[in-house]
Amino acid sequence: MNSLESASWEGRLDRELKALPLQPAPPTLIPRVMAVVARQTGLTWYQRPWPTWPVGLRVASLAGALTAFGGLCYGSAQPLPAGLQAALSFVAGKLGLLEALGHTAMALLAALGHALQSLGPGTLALGLGWSVLCYVVVVGLITLCARLALTSSRAQGKT
């Protein structure tokens, strides 16, 4: 198709598409929306989305959030009180128990690494190939099931 034909078709198609009438909305649309609206109206202010709160509460909550944020920023820049420092030290001491768990995990990983090295590259490649094959088979089966399900649901929709 040459460019003149293409431009002509583009213009004709544009007119055809713009002349399409609006599709009537399903009769269930308005009842659905009104049901949600009725549910929202029945909720108390704090159960509704923030933009729908009364103006005074929106202003107050925004001011409160800003104050809290400012306080956190200011507080984080200040030296910690002695009591809080002691509490944090206590917690850090308890967390030291986690260090032993970390060492155990590292030892297990090292043992796994030695085991894999002793298997050799051929065995590892075979294992990897087997894993890929299993993955492909699973994806293939899911695809087949999805196609069958979609085909049957479409066939049911037509009957």
Binding site: L17, L20, P24, P51
Partner: protein, 192 residues
């Protein structure tokens, strides 16, 4: 905006009338992008719920229709990118077979009214069905260009793809539409 005039306090009948005025436009906008009536209804519901939160501004606004159309377009595109991508692998497979066989899932109710020309009505239904049967990659930019009034670069920015891809997809979409319509209406279709 005082508490007394808050949208939640407004008359439900007024909002219902507002929806009646715009529901076909919102639904059509979503349907032409999504090509699925159930999903289009879900999107239309979300659009009207968003409009309800701003009903005080929209009820007398001359730009309400434009606002609703923009929100419907954006929500439809979000819907396509969010929900379709995870199923694209499967839907591409089934969609291809549907396109080859020329069948479509969309069924449009007949236009009522005694003045409707049956030939013209049938023709428009065929155009609409052909449009809906296009793959999303071609249909969406085509709809945004011809019905949304957007330029190529705006569509590319909106869809997050290159300008070249938008031009190619729209060209392919037009050609696919031409083939479909020629098959159904004859080689002369569509006429001026």
């Amino acid at each position: 905006m005082g508490e007394a005039s808050h949208p939640l306090m407004t008359d439900a009948h007024e909002f219902e009338a507002f929806m009646r005025n715009y529901q076909d436009m919102v639904f059509s906008t979503a349907l032409r992008l999504l090509a699925n009536r159930d999903e289009a209804e879900d999107v239309a519901q979300d659009v009207f719920l968003k409009s309800y939160a701003r009903f005080d501004e929209l009820r007398a606004s001359p730009t309400a229709a434009g606002w609703l159309r923009t929100v419907a377009t954006n929500l439809s595109l979000n819907h396509l990118s969010r929900y379709r991508s995870r199923w694209s692998f499967f839907s591409e497979l089934t969609g291809r077979g549907r396109e080859e066989s020329g069948e479509t899932e969309i069924e449009f109710p007949a236009e009522d009214g005694p003045s409707a020309d049956p030939v013209q009505t049938e023709r428009r239904e065929l155009v609409e069905q052909a449009l809906q049967s296009l793959p999303a990659a071609q249909r969406v930019p085509l709809v945004l260009f011809h019905l949304g009034g957007m330029q190529y670069d705006e569509i590319a920015a909106k869809l997050g793809v290159s300008l070249g891809k938008v031009k190619t997809d729209i060209f392919r979409g037009r050609e696919a539409l031409r083939r479909k319509l020629e098959r159904k209406l004859g080689p002369a279709a569509p006429t001026d």
